[in-house]
Symmetry: D2
Subunit: 143 residues, 4 copies
Amino acid sequence: MASAKGNGVALVKNIIKFVGEGGGFDKLLEKVKVVSAGEGRCLVEMVVEERHLNKGGTLHGGFTATLIDSISTFALMTRGGGAPGVSVNMNINYLKPATEGEEILIDAQTKRAGRTLAFLEVDITKKNSGELVATGSHVKFIG
Amino acid sequence: MASAKGNGVALVKNIIKFVGEGGGFDKLLEKVKVVSAGEGRCLVEMVVEERHLNKGGTLHGGFTATLIDSISTFALMTRGGGAPGVSVNMNINYLKPATEGEEILIDAQTKRAGRTLAFLEVDITKKNSGELVATGSHVKFIG
Amino acid sequence: MASAKGNGVALVKNIIKFVGEGGGFDKLLEKVKVVSAGEGRCLVEMVVEERHLNKGGTLHGGFTATLIDSISTFALMTRGGGAPGVSVNMNINYLKPATEGEEILIDAQTKRAGRTLAFLEVDITKKNSGELVATGSHVKFIG
Amino acid sequence: MASAKGNGVALVKNIIKFVGEGGGFDKLLEKVKVVSAGEGRCLVEMVVEERHLNKGGTLHGGFTATLIDSISTFALMTRGGGAPGVSVNMNINYLKPATEGEEILIDAQTKRAGRTLAFLEVDITKKNSGELVATGSHVKFIG
């Protein structure tokens, strides 16, 4: 639904603003641009910058994990209710490196949200080629 | 061996200094204190600060993942040769939250390093109580 | 391409016959029915039987893992070359139980196969409702 | 405590007998020998047989997963209360192959069991050499 999607974008923009305030770790997400959001899904894009890199010059595995953690949480929060839940497990596969200046898409989906647990999955791809950079799953306790 | 361990500490201190220079993601590790290192193992400690937190006031799952990624890589690098390898898979279980001001220990071990793959495991515990905050595994390609 | 898909089905049927011979563990897959296969993908279906259950009367987590392991390996083998590779990591999320008599679909895809590593992902769903039973990722060494 | 451990062994023997009855999947565990059990831990041993192998002649990844799933569940059940819980996530790293005739030890520990979730970890090693065959983590819902 177009309006719901629009509301989802506004909601996630507000979440990113909120979690980035103060001096917490999510400040790292301030340059993420929300493409679409709503109904348990959240798609954002960003440009890989120097501060996201490891010393080998590619996207740091810890930052990749941070994107999977946070963007999947935003996806979950679009379902209504809005509680972020608490992480139980996160699993990440690293398929291909991304380098400085590359645009990446982070696409997070809620696969299931029951009474106590939510299962989320994330694909990170290169915007130009569509190649997968990383895939991840994230289980959250929402009881 | 005491001297080897001492050498390991100096080595990891140099690695942390090196990876934190420039403006990459590992700058986040600058306040990590190396307790012991050598022979495929690396034990560090740090104090949880505001900038490591999620909006719920606990250690951010993405920062936890960053610690598991980076400290296990340092453990691997103490084995000689020194190459950091490339991440293939990382899995993290979140057992208990840690809050601002708490001291945590990050203990990374090389479980196996073959010709092409290294398997690393990490326990993050509260220094005072010994309680597990998170456990993780990290598979790296080192071929 | 219809003919390639057809060849894929014949190929996977032969693989299932081959791996089930002798007395190995893959004998458990003998009743799996190949729906489509080819180009790195393999879709099979089966009926949950008593011998696949845990004592709680639902699909056993170990059998779920076996399906993810084996069917993703067959998907990989449809890419040509045909080597099954060696497992490095497998991760499974259990979303919903399946019970005796239910038909399930196991859909395995090759997300990337490079020179040394292959990344595979699997969805197990209920045929009637489309609900996810489990999702899994499987990393194999193919170097 | 010797007596508690002894009770743990008897308890797990009964569990293996119980889950192996009827015609469920845990029948596969009938030849597992309980070494010690109690207080959230369970150590068993077994000999790798032909029926546990993949077509490459090594321990099947799906059977490895089954061992991790089931033995960690038995470990959890030794804590009292006795409920097996429901699997949420399982992650397995495959370090080294095991072949027919080799004796393996499966050592499962409860890392945390809270009100709703239990976190279990398992090492599978070769009895003779102590080499790791696989490591795994298992998250169960016990609420």
